[in-house]
């Protein structure tokens, strides 16, 4: 176990550990591997009850081809069109708010900061009815814009917490030096703070991308049909369409989960930096 580095243990312990790793991983991901195996089977395997034996035929392309011929690409597109503007909006709003709260000392600073944090923790249900009414009143029900506006507003809470702590940790002498140079306050944000915030911006963007992509609750509260629904909500109609066709439902789930997974593997460092903010002092 941890405190003892494995290099210092006996050769046999090392080998056991290395053999245990893939086994543990297989166990951990078993439910997922099962789905991946379903997704390449032909339909006939499910009618003959051949769930776990050798697939009678590999149907990778047929199954995924059928997913791409359904409404799925539409839902995926919606997800992108909702997620990307939300990321941009929430990250910019919170970079600004974080700058204000991290750099300036004024009376209500801490109060406002705590307000953002508290808001980020509230249960969605306390917002549901009023936000749905507001969206209806604005004529934005069942539109991507309606969903985006809400997501931006809500994510601003978490993002501001993140940004403010990051900015607070920057060396304050930089700001003072800039002021002595006679640089304008708003210029400090654009020319000094923003360039230093690149790692935070990257981390937060990746994280928010995943959060928003995976949102289901607001998708079903604020949207209804193919025009606006993201893939998390769309997959339920997809599954209703292909009821009991497990090979297609499995393939559909894999397609729906893919973008955030790809994002995670490509941007792993940033993702983990974002997630673990505050876990280390």
């Amino acid at each position: 176990m941890f405190p003892k580095p494995i290099e210092k243990s006996t050769r046999s312990t090392q080998l056991t550990y290395q053999a245990l790793l893939p086994f543990a991983l297989l166990l951990w991901l078993a439910p997922l591997i099962a789905v991946a195996l379903f997704a390449i089977r032909p339909a006939v395997d499910f009618t003959t009850g051949n769930y776990w034996g050798m697939p009678s035929e590999l149907q990778f392309f047929e199954n995924f081809g059928q997913v791409l011929n359904s409404a799925m690409p539409r839902y995926i597109m919606n997800s992108f069109l909702i997620t990307i503007p939300t990321v941009l909006g929430a990250v910019s709003l919170s970079a600004m708010a974080g700058f204000a709260l991290g750099i300036y000392k004024f009376k209500s600073n801490l109060f406002l900061f705590f307000m953002f944090i508290a808001g980020n923790f509230v249960p969605f249900q306390i917002l549901m009815i009023p936000v749905r009414d507001l969206t209806l009143d604005l004529g934005l029900y069942d539109t991507k814009t309606g969903l985006i506006l809400f997501h931006i507003a809500f994510q601003t809470g978490f993002c501001t917490l993140f940004m403010r702590n990051f900015i607070k940790a920057l060396p304050f002498e930089l700001i003072e030096a800039a002021r002595v140079e006679g640089i304008r306050e708003w210029q400090i944000f654009f020319y000094i703070v923003l360039p230093l915030m690149k790692p935070a911006l990257a981390a937060l963007s990746v994280l928010i991308f995943t959060f928003i992509w995976n949102d289901y609750f607001w998708a079903i509260v604020l949207t209804q049909g193919e025009n606006a629904q993201p893939v998390t909500a769309g997959i339920t109609s997809f599954n209703a369409q292909f009821r009991a066709m497990y090979h297609l439902m499995s393939a559909g789930s894999i397609v729906a989960a893919l973008p955030p997974v790809a994002m995670f593997f490509l941007m792993q460092k940033h993702f983990i930096a974002g997630l673990t903010l505050g876990a280390v002092k």
């Binding site: 405190p3 249900q125 306390i126 009815i129 507003a153 002595v180 304008r184 708003w186 983990i272």
Partner: protein, 309 residues
Amino acid sequence: MTNADRMHSAPLQKGWYARNEISVTPWLFLIPAMLMFALYVIWPISQSFYTSLFEWDGLSEAEYIGLANYEKLLTRDRAFNISIWNNAKWLVFYLLAIPGGLFIALFLNQTVPGIRLYKSLFFFPFVISQIVVGLVFTWFYDPTFGLFNGIIGIFGFDPVNVLGDPKLATYGIIIAGLWPQTAYCMILYLTGLNAVDPEQIEAARLDGAKGLKMLWYVILPQLRPATFIAFVVTVIGALRSFDLISIMTNGGPFGSTRVLSFYMFEKSLSEYGFKMGYGAAIAVILFLIMLLFIGYFLFRMYQDEKAGH
């Protein structure tokens, strides 16, 4: 020249903004975020409180009924009792993600070839949406072809329809939820373990500490920040549970897997008619429960802020 000097020496002909730069700029930068947050988060909270005092179907005129919704909830609603009881189960069992995550983190915290990939793959479940996790586990539990029954079959047990059994269904869903949540706690602890001071461990080892003693007295105290965050996100996650329930059982069988968040949604926006006022009252109760935890988190953060500066 300090700031104050510069401000005093600023010639009067400079504009209003130039003279008040330091006090005005933060507000200019805060206003967009504050407006959005007030409109979509702060104001709706108060509106929900207000709505909970009415009987309202979302369309026709709302009728003021005082605290009648709460009275009915707390005294005559069996579904509400089941929901709140299930919330308690979620809270307690979801916390298993913390020791679980710690265990996996300790297991993976070694340097062998390929360990980075192992860490990412163990973290994988967290990146997938809960909807997909829900589907995956629904099939995993399926009584006819699920892997779960296949596995217990090897040990000679009869097939169990986990999600169809009112006694087991909630636990089945919590286990599905624990999967990504444990991965989340694991990553928090892995990062925390990176920051553990090797000298302290060496010193403790010289003093003869090892195994569980080492973990409890030397490692865990250094992991406190990670434990705190893991606790926060797990509690929030437990009280927010909705997606999995909605996908895996839709509250059933016989309403046995409802939690407050799900029950509220069902009452307000289901095919049985819109009971907005009643839904709002459920939401308020859930909010008040959450507020206990939020208050605690904010208190802890406030102490940190004061200690830090």
